[in-house]
């Protein structure tokens, strides 16, 4: 049984269909990427899985439990983390307070919270220097580290990452790639949404391609990277050009 199984998920904004039958799986220890244009339903898929949005029909099963109708805070309690689009750190709370909120569910055991916070500080020593600074005053890269660290405070089994590299400098994008690998090494499965298909396919084990609320392609990341349609629509290359010559992370790094 996969860690997460989504079957035939439908969701709507008002009368507009956003998801029209999404089915996907995330196995224990996998990094899975969702690719697609804006408006394809990637973010909605994540939001529906983690309970921020209601599904009209279909099923989400996590760890053998049906969570389709569960509320967001109970899904978090079950071990699903979600770093939302735009990072959404709490701007008027300090770095330390942001992290402690990440461990909100363990608030009755301050020692556990402190230990996890120290683990996050190990991963991102920069945050130690910034611990009493307000979240809103951090740079974009630091905010991304804080957002990921905050989600890790609950020690999730599965982490949903929405556009982790959006709006970040190339150097931070590279660092985010390293972080995602480290998260997996700690035993957390990752389901990530990425506009930057190159980065996503370089990191992921498997990927799904979404178009207008449906999954149109799926498979191992390496195979998708060679797929002509993917190359044309999402990697910006022509189908003939060999992929190996491209830099794997930044799009268009070669002139």
């Amino acid at each position: 049984m996969a860690l997460l199984t989504v079957s035939d998920l439908h969701a709507y904004y008002g009368d507009t269909a956003a998801l029209r039958g999404i089915s996907l799986e995330v196995e224990q220890g996998e990094i899975v990427a969702l690719l697609g244009s804006n408006g394809a339903g990637k973010t909605t898929t994540l939001r529906t899985i983690t309970g921020l949005q209601r599904a009209r029909s279909g099923r989400v099963v996590y760890d053998d439990t049906d969570i389709t109708r569960s509320k967001a805070h109970t899904i978090v309690r079950m071990g699903v983390g979600h770093v939302p689009e735009g990072r959404r750190i709490f701007p008027a709370l300090t770095v330390e307070e942001n992290l402690r909120l990440g461990g909100y569910l363990s608030r009755r055991s301050p020692k556990v919270v402190a230990a996890r916070r120290d683990a996050v500080f190990d991963l991102f020593p920069r945050l130690v220097e910034r611990r009493s600074q307000l979240g809103g005053t951090l740079s974009g890269g630091e905010q991304q580290m804080l957002a990921i660290g905050r989600a890790m405070m609950n020690e999730p089994q599965l982490l949903a990452l929405d556009e982790p590299s959006m709006g970040l400098a190339p150097i931070v994008v590279k660092a985010v790639g390293v972080v995602i690998r480290q998260i997996r090494e700690r035993g957390t499965s990752v389901l990530m949404v990425e506009q930057n298909a190159r980065q996503a396919l370089a990191l992921a084990d498997r990927a799904y391609v979404l178009e207008t609320g449906r999954i149109v392609l799926e498979g191992p990341a390496g195979e998708l990277a060679k797929d002509a349609r993917v190359r044309h629509a999402y990697l910006g290359g022509s189908a003939e050009e060999p992929l190996e010559s491209d830099a794997p992370v930044i799009s268009g790094d070669t002139p």
Binding site: L52, L93, L101, G135
Partner: protein, 299 residues
């Protein structure tokens, strides 16, 4: 000089009530961006519950302190429940609807509470049994009663407790986080609906405490008492930078002082005009209140 000190003492007493009520306005606004027009009426209901309790037990010859404690606890419990019910029934379903719908719903709740109280207790004044001692002490010629001192100290203690709760506890941090970003708060595992209810509970309990103290201190209460004081308390919340708890406390006392001095030196007929005049003047120069909202400018 004596007159000045007397106005100061009176102003601090009035300010205690205003600050307690202003906290409710500012907390509720901070968390769901609603000007809760029913909040002044929750204060009024608290006052009437205290009235019912005190009138009943006054014949039992209980010690005064016990009567006060029982009346306040009853008033606070009743308004706490009332606050939760109002939020659950009239506000919760409208949280994600057009913004003014919830405002009109609040106006409806306000009117319903006033009418309910009028039907139950009549349109005239009801009088608390006078159980507080009128004795006191003198400060530079001005008279301050022990009752005034009690109101002042008790209010400060409640405000301090609230402040520490919001700043220091995980639940308080959750409330602040929720005020900034509701979805992100959900992703921390915070039960948003319950935390909003808790905010209404706390705000309403403070209003209930103020209502009972108001009745004990001023004796006469009626069904529209929540309107005028609610308006001034709301003004205080805005003046202090709406959503900002210490701001609401300080501005509550400030408005109390302005009212007291204006009553004394100008005329009570003009006091509300003076209060609003000060508010407008302040907002023109400091558009988010004296202490500002806690908003961080992004680079």
């Amino acid at each position: 000089m004596t007159a000045f000190l007397q106005y100061l003492v009176n102003g601090l007493t009035v300010g205690s009530f205003l600050a307690l009520i202003a906290l409710g306005y500012t907390m509720i606004y901070g968390i769901i961006r609603l000007i809760n027009f029913a909040h002044g009426d929750v204060f009024m209901v608290g006052s009437f519950v205290g009235y019912a309790v005190v009138s009943t037990v006054v014949a039992q010859h209980w010690p005064i302190a016990l009567i006060i404690i029982v009346a306040m606890l009853a008033g606070m419990a009743a308004t706490g429940v009332l606050g939760i019910v109002i939020e659950g029934v009239a506000y919760q379903p409208l949280l994600n609807k057009p913004r003014l719908a919830i405002l009109i719903s609040a106006l409806g709740v306000s009117l319903a509470l006033e009418e309910g109280a009028r039907i139950q207790f009549g349109a005239g004044f009801s009088s608390y049994p006078g159980i507080l001692p009128t004795t006191g002490f003198s400060i530079g010629g001005a008279h301050a009663s022990y009752a005034q001192l009690g109101v002042f100290v008790l209010s400060l203690l409640m405000m301090l407790a609230l402040y520490l709760f919001v700043q220091r506890t995980p639940t308080g941090t959750a409330m602040r986080a929720l005020a900034m970003d509701r979805d992100a708060a959900r992703l921390m595992g915070i039960n948003v609906e319950r935390t909003i209810m808790l905010t209404f509970l706390l705000g309403s309990v403070l209003a209930g405490a103020a209502g009972v103290m108001q009745g004990l201190y001023y004796i006469q209460i009626n069904f529209i008492m929540g309107f005028a004081i609610g308006l001034r308390a709301f003004t205080a919340a805005v003046l202090g930078g709406i959503g900002n708890l210490p701001g609401a406390m300080v501005a509550g006392f400030l408005i109390g002082l302005i009212q007291s001095f204006s009553d004394g030196y100008i005329s009570s007929n003009w006091s509300d005009a003076v209060i609003f005049g000060v508010l407008i003047a302040v907002l023109i120069f400091k558009p988010t209140g004296i202490f500002g909202e806690r908003v961080v400018e992004r680079v």
